[in-house]
Every structure is written in C-alpha cells, then in structure tokens.
C-alpha cells in the first residue's frame, strides 16, 4: 500500500509541534472569519500572504489551507444562528438551518453541519491522496498546447459556473487577462500598459487586487445596507441530533460529499458552487422534500458536506497541474511562489514531504475544526455580538498593513485603493470578481503557453486539435459551451442561482 506509506510520510511531516500549531492557528482564523460576515477567505489569505514569507513552506501552506476549509465550518454557525451567511458558501444553509434554529434545533443543525463537514473533509482528503499522484503522472505528458487547452477549459468552466450574465462573466475574464498582461513581456522585454510607472514593470501584484476586489468592495457594499442589529436565536439546545435526524442526515451528507468532491475539482467550482448544487439536489431527490423551507435537516447536511468536500478537492488542479482553479487557489499558488516552490506536476515527486504533509494536515485540521466548532460554540456566538462598525476598521487596517509589508511600497496601497473602487463598481453593476481574478492569474501563463505552442507548430493553430490530450480537453470545453447554449440546462442554472 503505497498510499499508506505516503500518508505516513505526510503525518510525520505535519504532526510536528510547530506544524500542528500552524494548523490550529489556520483553523482558528478560518473559523473566525467564517463566523464573521463581511470577510471571506480570499481577503484573509491575501492579508496573511506577506506574513507567510517568514514561515517554513509547509507551515505556511498548512496555515493558509486551514483558513480556507476552516471558513467552511465557521460559515455554517452564522447561517444557522443568525440567518446571515458568514461565508458565501453558506448562503443556502441559512434557508433550512435558520428554520431549524427557530424550532429549537439549532444545536442539532450545528452538529450535523460540523460532522457532515468532517466526513466530507476526510473523503476529500482521501480523494486528493488517491488521485493527485495519478493525475500528476498523467500530466507529465502535458506540453504547452495541453496547458493552453486546459486553461481555456478552466476559463470556460468559470463562465458556465459563474453567477448571473454569461456575457459579463466572459468580459470580466477578458478584462482580467488584460490586467494580468500588465508589465514587462518576458520574451521581448517590452513594458506593456505600465503608464511609465516603474512599480508596474514586474506586473500587477495580486494581493492588492484580491484585497481591493474582495475585501474592500465587500465592506463598502455592506455599509450601504443598514442591517441594524442582528437577531440571534436565543437557545442552541442539545448538540445531539435525534435518531430520526441522524437517519435523514446521513444519505444527504453522502450525496453532498459526492457532488462537492466532483464540483470542487472543476475550475471555477470550489466551495460556493458545491453547496448550491447540493441544496438543489436535495430538494429534488429527498424523500422529505415537502419539508424544505420549514427546517429540513437534509438542507443543512447536504450543502455543508458539499462545501467542505469542494474546498478540499479544489486543491487537486493546483497541486497536480499547477493551475489555480479558484481565486483562493490562485492565492495558494502565490504563497507557493513566495516560498520558491513552482506548483505543478513535479511537486509530488520533488517535495513529497510538502505535498503529503499538507494533505495529512487537512485531515488533522478537519478533526480540530469539529472540536473548535462544537464544544466551543459559545465563544463564536459571543464574537457575533461585536458590532460591524468596530469590525470593518480592523479588516481595513489588517489589509493595509498586509499590502504595505509585501514590498514596503506606498504604491501598492494606492493600487489597492484603486481596485477597491473598481470592485465596488463591479458589485454595483453585478459583475463577478471571481472570473476577473481567475483571468488575471492565468493571463501570463496562457500567453506564454500559447506562444510556445505556436512556435512548436510553426504558427499552425491546428496543433491544439492534433494532439490527442489537447483535443480531448477541448472537446470537454466544447461540451461545456453546449451546456450554456442548451435551453434546459440554462434554466436549471438560473434556478440554481436564484435560491
């Protein structure tokens, strides 16, 4: 059993006291920002990215990963108790979870969410351990044309899976690609779109972009709404679900895990989409679908398992192909680059301790999170009482200090302010930030692989369909396009995002 041996290596690397501490720290921060509405994992990881510079590579990745999946746990707490999504991936949990809380079953809902997440997290971790090495081995045959096709596939998937208007999602990707090309062209040395600003010669740093688009734009939109005092459900009740509740939650958690694991691998998928899809699925297949809207436990177990499974498996494309499929993964890639690790097929063979250590840490982290979230629930509930007027200045200050410490440069702060304005305009115009960030990160990679492919084929674009693997990926991409065009799917997609 090679996998057991590998996991053994992983646990040995991850279970050192210092790495356990990083894992705990990441999980705590993740739960914290998950519980607090108005700050998500993207802004948080961006904020902490400069800090990881002084950590060991494994420690840094363990901590950042912990923030991401920790946020999936924390988000459900707010959704169930306050009827506010602590995290965008917990939006659907509000529907059934809050109803359950009103019926006095908040404790059971919290427990089912946490245990479902733990189960999904374990499955997700095992899936990465089982399939990542196979995929990486397969991807060793990939050359520039395959990489280009794969990224194209990723961008198309991001459009299909994005909320709202398809045209606007495409435009946001193109805009992101263009912004990604700012800086010195690696092949010709020409400075492009730099407006003569020397700080832009190395390209636009993505930390201020992510903070501006996802951190500050969110704050400004939140302040536009007077949400007033949050109403909190008084009692949490027993944490133990009844036998009946358990019986109903198990199949939903299994279905949620399956759908989340699958959607997490897809580019643009990740946690948010997984939870939406799982809720829609439960509403269609559950034997108790008539109870939906009145506090059906399936509506908590399914989406909460799905978002955690999706959060885990979304690491697969990054760890095996070196392609970030979601904005969070783009930041993880940034963290690896800071540490001098090139994400890609070689990670598993070159840095087994790092790869397996990170996977083992996810399993440990999931276990920690159940303890952090269930017995300590009171602590997080108390945090929810902190008013937003005190919370947002803290977020702002941490983002500013974080952005400044990347390069001790005032320019980055000003750029962040610019992207904050841009991000706010985007929200006003219902333009999604995620496709933009994905295009932004993939822009330079795509250009490089496109150029290399063209040199390889002497300018013949047919190279992308003549190579079998590349062709296969493009056929899949075409299938996705067909999905958007087909009226039936279009309807389902709109329905799914309506909820």
């Amino acid at each position: 059993m090679e996998i057991l041996q590998n996991l053994g290596t992983g646990f040995a690397a991850a279970a050192t006291p210092i790495n356990l501490l990083f894992c705990l720290f990441g999980c705590l921060i993740g739960t914290l920002i998950g519980v607090l509405p108005g700050i998500g994992p993207i802004a948080t990881i961006a904020m902490l990215l400069p800090v990881t510079f002084s950590l060991s590579p494994l420690g840094a990745l363990i901590m950042l990963a912990g923030i991401y999946y920790g946020a999936q746990y924390g988000g459900s707490t707010t959704a169930i108790l306050v009827n506010l999504p602590g995290e965008s991936s917990s939006v659907v949990t509000c529907i059934e979870g809050y109803r359950m809380a009103q019926k006095g079953r908040a404790g059971a809902a919290l427990a089912v969410a946490a245990i479902g997440s733990l189960f999904a997290g374990c499955v997700g971790t095992l899936l990465i351990a089982a399939f990542a090495p196979i995929l990486a081995k397969f991807a060793e045959q990939f050359r520039s044309p395959e990489y280009f096709s794969l990224m194209l596939f990723g961008l198309i998937a991001a459009v299909v899976l994005a909320h709202g208007s398809v045209i606007k999602a495409i435009a946001m990707i193109v805009l992101g690609l263009l912004v990604g090309l700012i800086g010195t062209d690696t092949q010709s040395g020409v400075a492009r779109f730099t407006f003569g600003v020397p700080e832009l010669y190395d390209g636009v740093d993505f930390v201020p972009v992510a903070m501006g688009l996802f951190g500050f734009a969110e704050i400004m939109s939140n302040l536009d709404r007077h949400d007033g005092m949050r109403k909190m459900t008084a009692t949490i009740g027993s944490l133990w679900p009844t036998r009946e509740e358990t019986r109903r939650a198990i199949p939903a958690a299994l279905r949620g895990t399956a759908i989340g694991s699958f959607l997490g691998i897809l580019p643009g998928g990740g946690a948010v989409l997984s939870s939406f899809a799982a809720y829609t699925l439960e509403k269609k297949v559950s034997r108790y679908r008539h109870e939906f809207g009145t506090g059906a436990i399936e509506g908590v177990a399914g989406p909460e398992s799905a978002n955690n499974a999706g959060a885990q498996t979304s690491f697969i494309p990054l760890l095996t192909l070196g392609i970030p499929s979601t904005p969070v993964m783009a930041l993880m890639m940034g963290a690896m680059t800071i540490q001098g690790i090139a994400p890609g097929t070689a990670i598993i063979s070159d840095r087994p301790g790092l790869f397996w250590g990170m996977i083992a840490s996810m399993w440990i982290g999931n276990l920690m999170l159940v303890i952090i979230n269930l017995p300590l629930i009171g602590v997080w509930v108390a945090l929810l009482k902190v008013p937003y007027r005190m919370l947002f200045p803290c977020i702002l200050i941490f983002c500013c200090v974080g952005a400044y410490s990347i390069a001790n440069s005032t320019f980055l702060i000003m750029m962040m302010a610019g992207f904050a304005v841009l991000g706010y305009v985007f929200t006003k115009l219902s333009c999604e930030g995620a496709p933009f960030l994905l295009g932004f990160v993939l822009g330079p990679l795509m250009e490089e692989n496109l150029r290399r492919s063209m040199v390889l084929s002497f300018g013949d674009p047919l190279i992308f369909v003549q190579r079998p693997i590349s062709l296969g990926i493009l056929v899949l991409a075409l299938g996705l396009v067909a999905l958007i065009v087909l009226p039936q799917f279009r309807q389902t997609r709109e329905e799914a995002f309506q909820e």
Binding site: A171, M220, L429
Partner: protein, 150 residues
Amino acid sequence: MSRVKHPQDFWAGILFLIVGGIAAWMGRVYAFGAATRMGPGYLPTVLAWMLIALGAFLIIRALLESGPGIQASLWRPQIFIVAAIVVFGLLIERVGLAPSVIVATIVASMASTEMRWVETISLAVGLAVLCAVLFVKLLGQPLAIFAWGF
C-alpha cells in the same frame, strides 16, 4: 437617458468599451508579430478588441432588454473607506506604523453612521498596539513603529 432599459449592463458595457479602447490604443505600439512568432502586442490587441466587442454587445442589448436598476450608493461609506486607505498610504512612510494605524482607523470608522468617538479612539489605539506587536515584534516585518525612532 430614458431609453436605457438595463442600466447595470449598459454601464458595465461602457466600462468594458472604454478599457478595451484604451488597451487597443496603447497596444498599437507593441509589435504584433505573426502567428509563428507572436509579438508582445498580439494577445493584448486580440483581447482588447474582444473586450470592445463584448462591451458594445452589452450596450446594445441594454437598450433592447430590460433589467434591474443600479442600487443607489450612500457615498459616505465609499468616500471614507477609500480615504482611509489613501491616508494610510500617505502616512506610513512619514510617521510610522502606529500613528498611521490610529489615523486610518478613525477615518475608516467615519464610514459608518453609527460611529462613536470613545469607542473608535480606543479601537484605534488597540489596533495600533496589536499591529506593532504582531507585525513588527512577532513577525519581524521591517516596519518602523514610529518614524522618529524608538
């Protein structure tokens, strides 16, 4: 402009059109190259025109199909949030970390109509201490807590 039926798409289209236009105009000086050897201007030019086309499409569609309007802004939050970031950027190198954090926190807090002075000032001081301890002492970031040296 009463003929705009879908304000969100209309203004998004305008935004894409302008950015695409600027990119195409700036990109015209970068060598386009050929498919075999793509120059630095190849992809930017292609993308810029795509953006222009998408923007134009959105604008035209916004004149024909109706959609949701743009929610009004309060302006106060936006102005103070952006101002707080800019103030932090202007101050950090001149006065150091702690004073910049205090000033930026106060400016940022004004974004909320529920702001209370005593609370805000305590928060500002608390954050300044936290940042100094966390970023400078614990994480060893090369930042001056006070620019005049301590």
